[in-house]
């Protein structure tokens, strides 16, 4: 009964979205306040209905209702409760429900918090949001309905893919989707602005918090995903340039560009059409990602159950959403008034360079991801584009970007003195040389490019700190005065420092774990020892273990360093009998400066086991740095300017006096 009510609630939510997407748009065109006003209650009602539908599905999972087909396919009565809940979105249909839920949350957030938006802009933003919602709810109801029953109900379910039964996966998809879907806000604002024919500083100030929020979620989601891959897949790697990873990375790259170009619109009223285009493209890439993952046009190891029919439906959605918005862009954008002028060497110029590199990097990832499809269409050959392509194209684009990233924040708006900015970065250059030298010394040489790259990361890190300490006049005035200055600094300034320094930390982690990773693969019998990077691991044997819905073989290692016992490690190999799938559970010991990572493989039948041991220097920094970026984003989000919506009242009031130009 509850499941039918959930189904019905989703249909009603679709009806609410149709209402929200039509009457307020007409009202905005006619200047009819009552019709425009419908958008807000409609968005809230839609949210309530979607929440109800989502809860109904979750209820079926929690109570293991095996008369629901979706529960049968993805759950099992013996599965731990946490995974019964996360199983709701661990499959195609349920993840669409999560997508719709987050979309409705964002939509109603505009309805509730958008009190200071001009009514016509708000009505149009909510209208565009509703169109997106209509597309995805129709897709779910017609091709991927999670509320279908099976008769007769089987005694038990087929269980969730064991790789997905992991705490990391409880939070990875919701955060990733909050990122993807969050960019729909920037998209809706861009479309609304194109319809209104007006982009101004106030518009940018409304777009920026949503973009920041989406960006912070997406950063966190990608970081969690790579962390999960690192500890769960047991390959010791954390990024594989797999299509499914790439499609989440592309919106991140363009979203990062958007984050920066929106600042230029806000402060200098320039780069307006470009920012609009970025907003459209960023969300378009989120949609294309959904298409690629769920349609099966590109081979990937961890795709959803793919289905060409569903793919066709999403392709139609793409054509309407992306095609329609880009046509609107082609028609309306040339009429947008160009804004402030600036010299090539200026803060604006720096942002343009940033956008160019990020867009080029995104294009490189896009090409690499879709090249197999393009080539197959042209001459029928099938290829796999792997890490060598991305390392050869993506990395060279990142190097100049990171180098310039330390300089950009030093440049003032309009016109800047490059020599002056570089002079302020003397300390950063010293730090770069010092870290490069230190790395050279500690690693006794090592790949010269990696040593230089460590210097570059130090340059960025120190550059970010120098910029911050210049602003608070650290060590140049009394500490109390610096503290006062730091407190008065806009939170977005702290946010930027945290995010830029975080990226430097991520970079150091990437370099360390790629250049100085040591790896030993060997066959060990109990009592034998393996040595890696100064650690000795004594293999003590393998025991059996029974989990709630799996059986495991658990190995025991004693770790010694300089003859002293420092840790015990227990890597596992699990078998989930329902799906007959094995998983490896790596044992990881971290010191925050490096990870020791142990995995057991197959038994050789003569008492020996395949054992893989990795030592990965600096690898935890990848996720620590991401955390700093997310905190930076959220700090910036809490800036008064963005919380209030507008720093100057007269700015906020002005747009409302403009009639809608259509």
């Amino acid at each position: 009964m509850i499941i039918e009510l959930g189904h019905f609630a989703l249909i009603l939510a679709l009806a609410a979205a149709v209402l929200q997407g039509s009457l307020p748009m007409i009202g905005a065109a006619r200047g009819d306040a009552a019709w425009m006003g419908l958008a807000r209650p409609a968005a809230v009602v839609q949210l309530f209905l979607v929440v109800f539908a989502f809860c109904a599905l979750t209820h079926a999972y929690v109570t293991s209702d095996f008369s629901v087909a979706n529960v049968v396919q993805n759950s099992h009565s013996a599965k731990p409760m946490l995974y019964k809940i996360t199983g709701v979105w661990g499959n195609h249909e349920g993840s669409m429900m999560l997508w719709i839920l987050i979309l409705a949350l964002f939509g109603s957030a505009v309805a509730v918090f958008g009190g200071n938006l001009p009514p016509s802009l708000r009505a149009r933003v909510l209208g565009v949001q509703a169109w997106i919602g209509i597309g995805f709810m129709a897709f779910t109801l017609f091709t991927s309905n999670p509320f279908l029953r099976v008769f007769p109900a089987p005694l038990d379910g087929e269980d969730l893919n064991p790789l997905l039964q992991d705490p990391g996966l409880a939070f990875h998809p919701p955060m990733l989707y909050a990122g993807y879907v969050g960019f729909s806000m920037a998209f809706s604002f861009a479309i609304a602005a194109l319809i209104e024919g007006k982009v101004d500083a106030a518009w940018a100030r409304w777009v920026r918090p949503w973009t920041l929020l989406a960006w912070a979620f997406l950063t966190g989601g990608i970081a969690l995903g790579s962390w999960w891959a690192y500890y769960e897949l047991g390959w010791g790697g954390w990024w594989f340039w797999d299509p499914v990873e790439n499609v989440s990375f592309m919106p991140w790259l363009l979203g990062t560009a958007l984050l920066h170009s929106a600042i230029v619109v806000e402060k200098r009223n320039a780069l307006k059409t470009w920012t609009i285009l970025l907003a459209i493209l960023t969300f378009s890439l989120s949609l294309i990602g959904t298409f690629i993952v769920r349609s099966g046009v590109i081979t990937s190891v961890h795709a959803f159950a793919t289905d060409p029919e569903r793919g066709f439906f999403i392709l139609i959605l793409l054509a309407i959403a992306i095609g329609g918005s880009l046509i609107l862009f082609a028609v309306r954008a040339p009429a947008l008034k160009a804004g402030g002028l600036f010299a090539p060497i200026s803060r604006e110029g720096g942002m343009v360079i940033n956008n160019l590199f990020l867009s080029a990097a995104c294009a490189a990832v896009f090409l690499g991801t879709l090249y197999p499809l393009f080539l197959e269409a042209v001459d029928g050959s099938k290829v796999s584009v792997g890490a060598p392509f991305f390392n050869a194209t993506f990395v060279p684009l990142m190097v100049p970007l990171v180098f310039l990233m330390a300089i950009g924040p030093m440049l003032p708006w309009k016109r800047a003195d490059l020599a002056g900015a570089l002079a302020r970065l003397k300390l950063a250059a010293l730090a770069a040389l010092f870290i490069a030298g230190l790395t050279w010394y500690l690693q006794a040489g090592g790949p010269i490019l990696a040593v230089a790259a460590m210097g570059l990361a130090a340059w960025l890190f120190a550059g970010a700190l120098v910029e911050w300490s210049d602003r608070v006049k650290l060590f140049r005035v009394a500490p109390g005065e610096s503290w006062r200055r730091a407190r008065n600094l806009p939170r977005s300034a702290h946010g930027m420092t945290l995010a830029h320094a975080g990226l430097a930390v991520v970079m150091a982690g990437i370099i360390g774990s790629s250049a100085w990773k040591s790896e030993v693969v060997t066959n060990l019998k109990p009592g034998e020892t393996v040595e890696v990077a100064g650690y000795s691991l004594l293999f003590e044997g393998v025991g059996k273990l029974n989990g709630p819905n799996y059986t495991a073989e658990r190995a025991r290692f004693t770790v010694f360093r300089d003859g002293e016992e420092i840790a015990l490690m227990f890597p596992e190999k699990r078998v989930y009998p329902v799906t007959a799938m094995p998983t490896t559970e790596a044992a990881i010991r971290t010191t925050l400066f490096s990870d020791l990572y142990v995995v057991i493989g197959e038994a050789d039948g003569q008492g020996g086991w395949t054992v893989r041991v990795y030592h990965e220097p600096l690898v935890p920094w990848i996720w620590l740095g991401c955390l700093s970026m997310v905190i930076g984003g959220l700090t910036s989000l809490s800036d008064r300017r963005l919380r209030i919506g507008a720093p100057h009242r007269q700015h906020a009031a002005k747009p409302t006096s403009h009639p809608a130009t259509a």
């Binding site: 390959w235 493209l281 046009v297 081979t299 190891v301 392709l315 082609a330 050959s381 792997g386």
Partner: protein, 180 residues
């Protein structure tokens, strides 16, 4: 006017990409049915060194025309579909006993060794290919697989991972026919 055209660029690019997507979804698209110029030709002349640390010998033209039907598989540790293919390939070799020779394409020896130690090594011989052999064999990516008859002639060429359907539908019947 040129400015206007510039604004049409995004939609034009999207239209092209969407066209490819549509093609990719075509229900009669069969990625396994790929014409290849290599079939019925003798294998190219090549001589590849062994991958250090694997303990299996390298691969050269002379190993392929010794009267036995063999399979040659291009693979790399960085290639995700290769990982997907690996268990099927291993099981197939165990079942049929056909000698499987590998050509390790553009890979680091230590990565290849780790990959095979982790997943098991079904290959009797493995040649390390910095890239040249792939060109001569008409290989555009990994994984790709060839069946060579006893006279050293290519009889079958498959691009992409050898999933069970392909093995059952194409490879198994051909193998039985060639072995007589």
């Amino acid at each position: 006017m040129t400015r206007r055209l510039l604004f049409l660029l995004p939609i034009a690019v999207f239209a092209v990409v969407a066209g490819y997507f549509l093609w990719g979804l075509a229900p009669d698209r069969d990625p396994k049915d790929v014409p290849t110029v290599m079939v019925d030709k003798p294998t190219p002349t090549f001589d590849l060194a062994a991958v250090p640390g694997l303990g299996v010998p390298g691969l050269a033209t002379g190993d392929l025309a010794d009267g036995k039907v063999v399979m040659v598989n291009f693979f790399a540790s960085w290639c995700v579909p290769c990982r997907a293919e690996h268990p099927y390939l291993t099981a197939f070799v165990e079942k049929t006993g056909v000698p499987l020779y590998g050509i390790n394409h553009r890979d680091k020896p230590e990565d290849a060794a780790a990959w095979l130690t982790e997943l098991g090594n079904p290959y009797q011989r493995i040649g390390a290919d910095p890239g040249r052999a792939a060109v001569e064999w008409g290989v555009t990516g990994v994984p790709e697989t060839f069946i060579i008859d006893g006279d050293g002639r290519i009889r079958y060429h498959h691009r992409g991972p050898l999933v069970p359907e392909v093995l059952e539908r194409d490879v198994m019947p051909l193998l039985q026919a060639l072995r007589g």
